[in-house]
């Protein structure tokens, strides 16, 4: 059990957590669209996981950086940059007053994130297996 495998495992779980956060937000948005919850609750729930999502993503990047997986780190950078930009423009939280006008955009943005994360998950799994095999050899 070496450091490399451990780092892959850890990043894998971080990625799964990230995907979980995003799916939760998407569910809230979908519920809102179909009128199962009101905009106040929906916005509150989504906003409550925005910071955990950003934190997890930051942790993932740091992990890739210190474990020396440069390629994966570079892949993570656009996401990080996007989050930082949203935060610095104070657009990271969902605005309850405009949530219906922004609904489509918010959904699209999160779907794109999901696709991106799933690609990362597959890459991580690939590298994890690779490092396992390497260890065996």
């Amino acid at each position: 059990m070496d450091w490399s495998l451990l780092s892959w495992l850890l990043s894998f779980f971080l990625l799964i957590a990230l995907i979980g956060f995003i799916i939760y937000q998407l569910i809230c948005l979908a519920d809102l669209e179909f009128d199962y919850i009101n905009p106040y609750d929906s916005a509150r729930r989504i906003n409550s996981v925005v910071f955990p999502e950003f934190g997890t993503q930051g942790a993932l990047c740091t992990l890739f950086l210190i474990s020396g997986h440069w390629f994966m780190f570079l892949l993570c950078l656009p996401y990080l940059y996007y989050n930082v930009r949203m935060y610095s423009r104070r657009q990271h939280l969902v605005d309850v007053t405009e949530i219906f006008n922004m609904l489509n955009w918010e959904k699209k943005q999160r779907l794109a994130k999901i696709v991106y994360l799933i690609v990362l998950v597959f890459l991580t799994i690939f590298w994890m297996i690779w490092s396992l095999l390497e260890e065996d050899m």
Binding site: E33, D35, N38, P39, V96, T97, I99, F100
Partner: protein, 998 residues
Amino acid sequence: MASERPGPPTYLGKPTISPFPAAPQTTMPFLSSGPVVGSEGTGYRANTPSGSNGPPMSSPPSTYASPNVGVHQRFPSQQYPAPVQQISNLRGPPAGQPVLPPPVLPSAQQVLPPPGSFRPQPQIPSMPMGSPPQSANLQPPRGIVPSSPLESSFSAPRSALQSSLHGYPSNQANLVSQVPPMQSPSFLAPQGGYVPPPPLAAPVGLSSREQMQHPGVGPPVGAMQNLVEEFQSLSVGSVPGSIDPGLDPKALPRPFEGDLMPNSIAKMYPLNCHSRYLRLTTNAIPNSQSLLSRWHFPLAAVIHPLAEAPDGEEVPIVNFGPTGIIRCRRCRTYVNPYITFTDGGRKWRCNICSLLNDVPGEYFAHLDATGRRIDNDQRPELTKGSVEFVAPTEYMVRPPMPPLYFFLIDVSVSAVRSGMLEVVAKTIKSSLDELPGFPRTQIGFLTFDSTLHFYNMKSSLSQPQMMVVSDLDDIFVPLPDDLLVNLSESRHVVDAFLDSLPSMFQENLNVESAFGPALKAAFMVMSQLGGKLLIFQSTLPSLGIGRLKLRGDDPRAYGTDKEHALRIPEDPLYKQMAADFSKYQIGVNVYAFSDKYTDIASLGTLAKYTGGQVCYYPGFQSSIHGEKLKYELARDLTRETAWEAVMRIRCGKGVRFTTYHGHFMLRSTDLLALPAVDCDKAFAMQLSLEDTLLTTQTVYFQVALLYTSSSGERRIRVHTAAAPVVTDLGEMYRQADTGAIVSLFSRLAIERTLSYKLEDARNSIQQRIVKALREYRNLYAVQHRLGGRMIYPGSLQFLLLYGLALCKSIPLRGGFADVQLDERCAAGYTMMTLPIAGLLKLLYPRLIRIDEYLQNASAKIDDFGKFSKSLPLTMQSLDSRGLYIYDDGFRFIMWFGKMLSSDIAVNLLGVDLSTFPDLSKVSLCELDNEMSRKLMAILKRFRASNPSYYQLPQLLRQGEQPREAFLLFANLLEDQNCGTCGYVDWMLQIHRQIQQSA
């Protein structure tokens, strides 16, 4: 030239007669349009051969007009017989009409498309007409000699309409001789592609008139006539580089009549609610998405649910009692005139989702032979488009709330000094008797400067008790209740409080404003019940949460990407508070008074999401603006208000409302939460098509506003309207409603200024107009070789001017220097809620010369109509010997010419203008002389036409700079000013852009 200005013969009033040496190609249009008639099934249907009483939709395409002479030519679709003398005056001999090169033709002849009765009609005997003009026969005068037996039956409506057409030309005669009679949309003949309206569509006669008059005439003629009536055009000088713009400014269309409500739809669907409640941007819904995408205007509805109805037309109130309100099981549509009863009256079919519902036993009535309920006439919900249902307890989540007014008043030094506090206290006191909802009305006050002052108004006290809270970080409410009291019980305490309020803070020198904490405190007090919160703010919030920065003084931000940030709230707290207010049914009205920057952008957010309004009185001085504040505050307090309301609009299958514009909070995808809504608020919403193809022939809309009336009754106000589905783009343009489109444009543009530059917002308006007119042009011009002419639908003749007016309106005008940021934001908030009529008045105000009337001793106020003639908003309208009133619905500007006879000024103002008094300090009041009384009567009359606001007269002497330029000249929108283009340039610019990629 000849090649560019084609076929004269085909338009109305220009019989094709050979003396058009330069324009020989008269046949072209026929040849090109002939085949089309037969081949296109949808848009163009062939005429019924008999042509005598075809259904409206069988009238052939109307696709052509080729006015080649004349500056401004229009082809009103209604060729109602106009008075004979008019014809002889205005219409020249049909022959001998020279084809003049552009630009301006001073001719009186081309003016009126000759009234129908005398229209010489070029008739083409048979389809393959190879032969040009000579086939023009004169059509027998229609109005006089009915050409078919059917004709007589239509003479009545026509003569009725005739009178309305009549006045206009005479009105205009001296000014624009070639402007033809006012076109009112009601006369538009529904044409090709029209889906036949339901059985109620009465005006079959009107629409099929064309054919009826020409029994036996083949399709081409009908086609030609219709196309002649299709649109209006404007010849635009096509000489490149010429200095003369080639447009006669006098001939441009101007909306002197103000807002014209479309009434063709009311004729077609007499059961629709009145158009004061609901207007569509076009009264013809496209049947497919591809058609919709070619209509470049927004497809939308403008809804004014509580519009004030004139006496006798009030919305009837219906109480179903124990039966419960009858609604469709599936789509929850309310019972309305368009539902149909079947199965002997035991079932009814929903007009929106076509589900068969059972009729409850208590509501059952037998049907008569025609399928109508026998009690139909006694049931307003089945005969009227607008009704109000009394809602049973199922429609309440809590007992209906009492009307509740909470006042949050700034008492810092500027509020006291300007006199605001005194005026507010007096006005509230005088309005107490008229507050709606006696005896349940509740009232409360909170004042603030750097601390918060609560008032205990318990009825057992003789004097109000003041409690000061100075801890701004941890706000608490010092008393659990008694801050909000029942007005009728505590009336004496409230009176005592209002009497002492101005003197209490007389010596206050506090300049700080703890607005944010005060807002929080007000929220805590009100959150139990909801109600209306009136905020009086005269300084920039400076303490505690929600404090704002001076950010409005940065000219460098303009023109950059950061520009829009100045127009959105700076602190997210305001949005958050607004959302909370809305959640707890609190409506906020903001009154702002500062002469310095107060960040209306942030304060207004509170009103924006709670259905409120923003009233801004820059540099408030009670001696000058006191009357205005008094009137508007009193109106706010006493007008009919709907409490804890929600509004939803339903529509038929295949269409869906997508975006909403106005002051409200969306509670779900289609539910507008309106904590307090009143008769001065309108809302706009855009439609989209869900299916690619609409199969129904009619789309129904139903607006339902569920609210608590001031009397404590839960009610549902329901407005139902129907609109036909069409397959023809031309029909959509024909049925377009300029007012509604302008309202949508203004709302979209103002929303755009919140995320983009002002310039982008202006450009987007221009681009949409250009795109739409280009599409329209493609529809007609190419096929009929309209070359250098600008064409537009008659229904949209004022749209271009309104577009220009919108670009020059306060929220969108110029850049940093043109309007102060606060004024811009306040005007933006106001325009987002304005009903259509008010908006159009604001965009194209009235300018009227009144000195002649005042000097005419015998003229009475009832004769004022004869003297008052709206003038174009240009400097040329101003004569230095005159006295003018500029009325935009929000203020009067009175302009005194330099050479105005001095006794007028002395009589009206009591001062001599030759002494150069400072007119900004002179206030207008009634003096003891005939002239002054007459002026007051005029002002009173003007005010009565727009009771929502108080128009404060501002006096202005010619040459009094810079006030003159700022107050009046900047608003003369047809002139070139502040680096913007004038009306003529605007038309040319649009025309060029249309042609660029046409």
